[in-house]
Amino acid sequence: MGKDKFLNEKPEKLTYSGVFKKIDNWARARSLWVVAYGTGCGAIELRPTFTSRFDAERFGMRMVGTPRQADVIVVSGYLTVKTLKRVIRVYEQMQSPKYVVALGACPINGGMYYDSYNAINRLDLYLPVDIWVTGCMPRPEAILAGFKRLQELIDDGKADGWKKYIEALDWYRGNQRKIIKNWRMPNYNW
């Protein structure tokens, strides 16, 4: 039932001008927009982080409503197979360059859900992760420290998970196909 609708063709290659690369990175690191999609229990910690108590907007970060406008997706906590489908879909609809931040122990090795029938154990088999923030759950201070580190990586031009994802798309697709038997979702483009 249903057709396999994984995106198998790669997006068009981005031509990079070496001259403005540094300026690009400088600007990108200071305007991280985060897609407001709570995938697990850690989404609770993102609310105080981005509102007035911890005020992430002083670092240039804010929540946006759609993946098309966003630079960062935060995988906040455990991922079930059903949620992973949606996360992959959201990630692929984001514009390059894009970054993945994984919060908590669950995306690293399964955390307390390591023997669950429905929660995945390792996120980096399915999506390229740039920053891991450990804890169960991490406090907003830890999340801010993680974002600060992400900004440093972008400044140095080292946060290139999105390039790896395009290069090794077949490998990621193979891993995704192992657990997602039927994609069965509306089609979209990169």
Binding site: T80, G110, N121, I180
Partner: protein, 176 residues
């Protein structure tokens, strides 16, 4: 004449136990469940279905189905339960008495494999998309093995072994 006597007069009541001032537990048979729920809803004022739950008693080869009802006027709960055969878990829906039962029955169908005849949406997937094994909440389903085969082993491995040993010890302790 209290409610237990009234129920005993009309239906087959195997066990009737008053747990608290506002909680009553009734065990009945598969045949007498839906008439009893109808009577409780229409005559005794237990108008709200709060929960349907299922427990797997694998040693007795039974599923225990519990229906929790709530009486708003008396601020009291009643739990009506019965034992369903584990080999042929076929039952009827109570969707016609309470529409909200549809979702509970759908979940129990997905997690335990109980078949509710007459439920319009029970074959749609609720949370397990593309499930390829026996229903996961049955106790003969090995979640750790399934997780390791499907999602890969967790590092470090020694932790898993420790956890396995603990669970084996716990099983032995339970058998005694």
């Amino acid at each position: 004449m209290n409610i237990i006597e009234r129920l005993k007069e009309r239906f087959e009541v195997l066990i009737a136990e008053k747990k608290r001032k506002d909680l009553l537990i009734i065990e009945t048979t598969k045949k007498g469940l839906i008439p009893m729920l109808f009577y409780l809803k229409e005559y005794e004022g237990y108008r709200t279905l709060t929960l349907i739950s299922c427990v797997d008693w694998i040693e007795d080869k039974k599923f225990q189905m519990s229906y929790i009802l709530w009486n708003f006027r008396m601020k009291a709960n009643i739990i009506v339960k019965f034992m369903l055969d584990r080999e042929n878990p076929d039952f009827e829906t109570v969707y016609k008495l309470w529409p909200q039962a549809e979702a509970y029955e759908r979940e129990i169908h997905e997690m335990f494999g109980v078949n509710f005849e007459g439920n319009p949406t029970q074959n749609e997937e609720l949370i397990l998309e593309d499930w390829d094994n026996i229903p996961p909440m049955r106790r003969d389903f090995d979640t750790l093995k399934y997780s390791m085969e499907k999602f890969g082993e967790r590092e470090p491995k020694s932790r898993i072994n420790i956890r396995k040993e603990i669970s084996e010890q716990y099983d032995e302790w339970r058998r005694k």
